[in-house]
Subunit: 402 residues, 2 copies
């Protein structure tokens, strides 16, 4: 068929998200899904949001329903600046840009900082959505060698600095998606020091930082190197993802271009949503609300940790996360998480094969399990099914080929 349309070169690089395709499969009724990173709907503060919608539409309907500033709603920007002070960051409200979810922050960062062929460093593995957000801007991804605390400082030190220069390292220090790992205080200092020496700035993504179980994570990377850091935050995991509200905090030199990119992208984030969320959180609501989420997710984490211990075959490896939403499991040699997925779905469970999270050289033995969507009981059931599947797969792998 002939076509009158010519697509952009970058379009050839854009691909459907494997997670998205998996989620479609797992929407079948009866599947125990540990695939998606969906916050528990039980944590959504429905009544508070309902009351806030009513108040906003009663007190300021003309403003809330009108076009609004691209920077975001002033009081919400002030709230964010005050909030991140608790992470050690000293920022002014005029460094805060309200975004349509922190995913949009990633897109704006890509638009303003990525050139075709210029390296962008990412953790090994890293958040798939960031790879998707940056890819249309045609960077070359540099996969940073990483361990249980995240990227190695020496990997950052070795990043290319000749023109066009490594534009930034994209780092998730708190309960990383997909691995669940957290970067300790000493590692943070080393990573920042290596980045500073290498002249490679940091884009710090922190959607999960509030979801700690026993102790809060160390201070933000951005607090250690303000002029070399750009910070992304979100209301999706502590309030609701359905309002699509996030924020970006940028050094003053970068803010104007990010703001112009935001304006070109969608004029502004819905003013109504910003006002409603501000109305909910303005008087300390999150101080009472977030601990209830932590408690719930910690119980879920414990249920999954117990299930993995009880049901997974020898040779599987994982660490119990200290916060966030995910376990990262490495299967015994000879098993392939992607190849096993159809059988898993057949058995009534779903996970995300880890291969999706690598910019290069995927580890086919890895998979990601979310523990926040299901109840502890269903988590136990799901992990038991996973264990049975893996036992069978190991036995099948041990048999000689017919």
């Amino acid at each position: 068929m002939t076509t009158v349309w010519t697509q952009a070169r970058r379009a050839a690089r854009m691909n459907p998200s494997i997670i998205r395709e998996i989620l479609k499969v797992t929407e079948k009724p009866g599947i125990l899904s540990m695939a998606g990173g969906l916050p528990s709907a039980d944590t959504f503060p429905v009544e508070a949001l309902k009351a806030a919608c009513d108040r906003v539409l009663t007190q300021a309907p003309r403003e809330a329903l009108q076009y609004a500033a691209s920077e975001g709603f002033g009081p919400l920007r002030e709230w964010v600046a005050a909030r991140v002070a608790t992470l050690g960051m000293a920022v002014r409200p005029d460094q805060v840009l309200i975004t349509s979810g922190s995913q949009q922050g990633l897109d704006l960062v890509g638009k303003v900082l990525c050139d075709a062929g210029a390296p962008v460093a990412v953790e090994t593995p890293t958040y798939l959505g960031a790879l998707q957000a940056f890819t249309p801007y045609e960077p070359i991804f540099a996969s940073l060698a990483s361990d249980a605390e995240g990227p190695l400082p020496e990997a950052i030190a070795a990043l290319p600095h000749d023109a066009p220069g490594t534009r930034f390292s994209y780092l998730l220090p708190n309960y990383q998606n997909p691995t669940g790992r957290v970067m300790g205080a000493a590692r943070r200092a080393e990573v920042v020091e290596a980045s500073r020496r290498a002249g490679v700035p940091i884009v710090e993504d922190n959607p999960y930082g509030d979801l700690w179980f026993d102790a809060p994570p160390p201070a933000a990377l951005s607090s250690l190197w303000p002029e070399g850091s750009l910070y992304l935050g979100s209301f999706s995991k502590v309030l609701t993802p359905g309002f699509r509200l996030g924020y970006l905090i940028a050094p003053p030199e970068l803010f104007p271009k990010l703001l112009q990119a935001k304006q070109a992208a969608d004029l502004h984030t819905p003013g109504f949503n910003q006002r409603v969320v501000h109305e909910v959180i303005r008087d300390g609501f999150l101080d009472g609300h977030i601990p209830t989420i932590r408690q719930r997710y910690k119980a879920n984490r414990d249920a999954m940790a117990a299930g993995l211990r009880d049901f997974l075959p020898p040779g599987c490896e994982w660490q119990s996360p200290e916060g966030g939403m995910f376990f990262w499991v490495r299967l015994p040699e000879g098993l392939d998480a992607m190849a096993l997925l159809p059988q898993a779905v057949e058995a009534g469970i779903a996970y995300v094969p880890g291969a999706a999270f690598y910019a290069h050289q995927a580890d086919a033995r890895t998979l990601r399990l979310s523990f926040v969507t299901l109840t502890p009981e269903l988590i136990g059931e799901g992990v038991e099914k996973l264990g049975r599947l893996l036992h069978e797969a190991l036995e099948a792998a041990a048999e000689p080929a017919p």
Copy 2:
């Protein structure tokens, strides 16, 4: 000052919106602003939205507050497909992508269709926000020679078709921003025929089509050439801009890439907003609501037409728009709308200098006046002040330099 950040090449092309800067000035209390294209807040259906928020958060809170499909809320996509059938377009719901305002549709179009150095054709003049949305993707703009009905078919016929090919013409056939002009039925047929022959597809933007005063506009360009057209619509002008809801309708061959671009840009448009708007409009609300907006804007148009006739000095040119939100005025020779703006603000009024809307060779004598934000009485007052200013400017221009 040294910096650790390297910006993308495209960032150098991105500039602050002149409209945005003007709007800041005109936020001063007491300014009669005819600058911004802000719908009248009196038209926002506050009570209907309030009731819908309550219903959505009562009936489907877990779904409305959760992550959702990148394509958009199914029933809203169905509504859109049925709605555009009234414009002569036969589309399936799976060709409808819900966007965060139609501005986001422009960004996604740029991302999927624009390459550095490939031409994109635009009307002369055209919507500034489209120039801003496409610019980061580094197209070369081709300004189509245009008359009172929009672009000339022969200008489309003459577009470059050698590689990399003109990627599309961006056209606003209904009450165009900024000129207010509408494309007649015969011109539509000629434009589509010329586009088809030239092999240049059409991106049709229709935010104002519902705002006709005496008779609806002719059928959509997209109805005449479905496979060669991509259509953008919006709820901003008929319901509220503060919810940031628009949509894009694409030929099946383009839909998957646009969807991937959408997913990378912000995952999805807020599900809550989509459900609330669907709840408001599902039972024919707009059929009663839009006529009240038309009636109001028509009275405003009449007030501005009368004011311009009464107060503007000889030599000024304008057409009375048959719909939409804007008058486009051309000043007598020797006057410069941009140069006069500070005096206008001093005199208590604001407009947008037309120069902002040209991709090339701006006509410095043009300006855009919105008639939808102020009341008829204030419009009269504003235009009277504008007339006084222009009379004085003409007298000053006629005086010999000291």
